[in-house]
């Protein structure tokens, strides 16, 4: 957020953004579930140019043993960016940003899981950003949610996440990379629609309380749309099999 640099225009006079979207439009999203054979649950997301993979191992025995909790499962989460995921190669060692994001993502998913149902176990969640394009933490929560559901881990609700912010004076939904870097504010949110519960909320930039409320509400709307996409993705594989079977039966 550098006021002295050559100003990049993020939104033009007609309200169109650098990637052709209007202020309240999500980027194109592709979701796939159950794509890794070793993990207990897995999923993949493409959102704009973001490419993020999530995998779950668990519930399983906790290693090291002394970390086990007597009355619930331990959720461990690792958000990590591949060295080739960004313009300038990123060192594979966990950065402070990755440490913080691993924590906030875990805290967004913990309230969704019935951890008490499998005490003394661990649920290990891995989120790998293969290509980053702004909004990786929210896309990470979205795809991790699907990996957890794919693993058959008992959940209160899916967690959908989305960010909104301010760019060139407009309140916009789902910031892309350049809007994230050059915009005025970024508000990532993770939400469980059935429970009307927010599990992740951050903000950086400058917003009046009124602007914040606008951005926050816009992000919630984005979350609700993403939630519907998540449900569809989970059912897809099974519906496809059902359809194929029914077609084959009809052909007889």
């Amino acid at each position: 957020m550098n006021s002295m640099s050559k100003k990049v225009q993020l939104v033009d006079e007609n309200g169109i953004r650098t990637d052709g979207r209007r202020s309240d439009e999500l980027r194109p999203i592709k979701l796939e579930v159950g794509i890794l054979s070793n993990a207990d649950g897995s999923a993949y997301i493409e959102q704009g140019k973001n490419k993020i993979l999530a995998a779950v191992y668990g519930p399983r025995e906790v290693h090291p043993r002394h970390l086990a909790l007597p009355d619930r499962a331990l959720l461990r989460c690792r958000y990590h960016m591949a060295p080739f995921s960004v313009q300038e190669r990123k060192s594979p060692a966990p950065s402070r940003r990755e440490v913080e994001l691993s924590k906030v993502i875990r805290e967004a998913l913990e309230p969704a899981i019935f951890l008490e149902l499998t005490p003394r176990t661990s649920i290990d969640l891995f989120i790998e950003v293969l290509q980053a394009d702004g909004g990786t933490r929210t896309a990470g929560v979205t795809v991790a949610s699907l990996a957890l559901a794919d693993a058959g881990i008992p959940m209160r609700d899916l967690v959908a996440a989305c960010a909104a912010g301010k760019a060139d004076g407009y309140i916009v939904l789902d910031l892309n990379d350049i809007e994230d870097k050059e915009g005025t504010a970024d508000v990532p949110v993770a939400y469980m629609p059935s429970l009307n519960a927010v599990g992740l909320l951050q903000m950086d930039g400058q917003l009046t309380p009124e602007e914040f409320e606008q951005a926050f509400n816009l992000a919630l709307e984005g979350c609700k749309k993403i939630y519907e996409l998540q449900k569809k993705a989970l059912k897809e594989k099974y519906l496809a099999i059902k359809e194929a079977v029914e077609e084959a039966v009809e052909e007889k």
């Binding site: 909320l201 951050q202 400058q206």
Partner: protein, 269 residues
Amino acid sequence: MTSTTISRIRQKQIARLIAGGKRLDGRGLTDYRPIQIVTGIIEKAEGSARVRLGKTEVMAGVKIDIGEPFSDRPNEGVLTTNAEFVPLASPEFEAGPPGEDSVELARVVDRGIRESKAIDLEKLCIIPGKKVFVVFVDIYVLNHDGNLIDASALAALAALANTKIFKYEIKDGEVEIKPGFEKLPLVNFPVAVTLADIGGTLIVDPGLDEEEVMNARLTISFDKDGKICAMQKGGSGTLSPQQIIEAVKIAKEKSEELRKLVVKDYAAA
């Protein structure tokens, strides 16, 4: 009982009191504990401050060095914030590299300062693209009795307000230190306010016992013009959208109270 795990009886006691609008130490739901700020206590640091928030005690030290700017911001000084959860501060703190809590705290405090543009980083440029002032803010937690974020943000701000940079002269492309000092160019005063949700009720400035029982917390940083410059939800629970909007309103008011404690010192110095 040395374990910091809170007993069930205590949990129930806290929940009952809060449902009735009161807290363990008799505070109101939106009251801060008594705050004491002392500045300039570490003479070898360019700036320093110690904050006592109830029994929570945090120190912040500012060191200034000369270094290279970031390649994408050649005309700006560099700010870097670090936090250490010193082992003597709590039986729960272990020696070793920073854990996720201290990394999160440092980054949230840094965000408040950075996004509010509190430090005029351009004024810290010495030779564009080559030499700039690097401002190291180090937060040192000395006693953990809850709400380390607000105490740390306050300590960092007070330390920055207290910071003096040496005067210099450029001779043949080298920086020569001259006698005398200048105040660090501070143009904004970000303040963090943390609220916790216990049983659906929001309270300001959670103490350690309250943190053990809380569902979730929300930290909101405001600048001197009432703009939000940082937010961070923490904890394994959730907040409703309505609670979040309410928290913003409460936090804005409280931030003005806290800011007064630092600003009057700054103006006077």
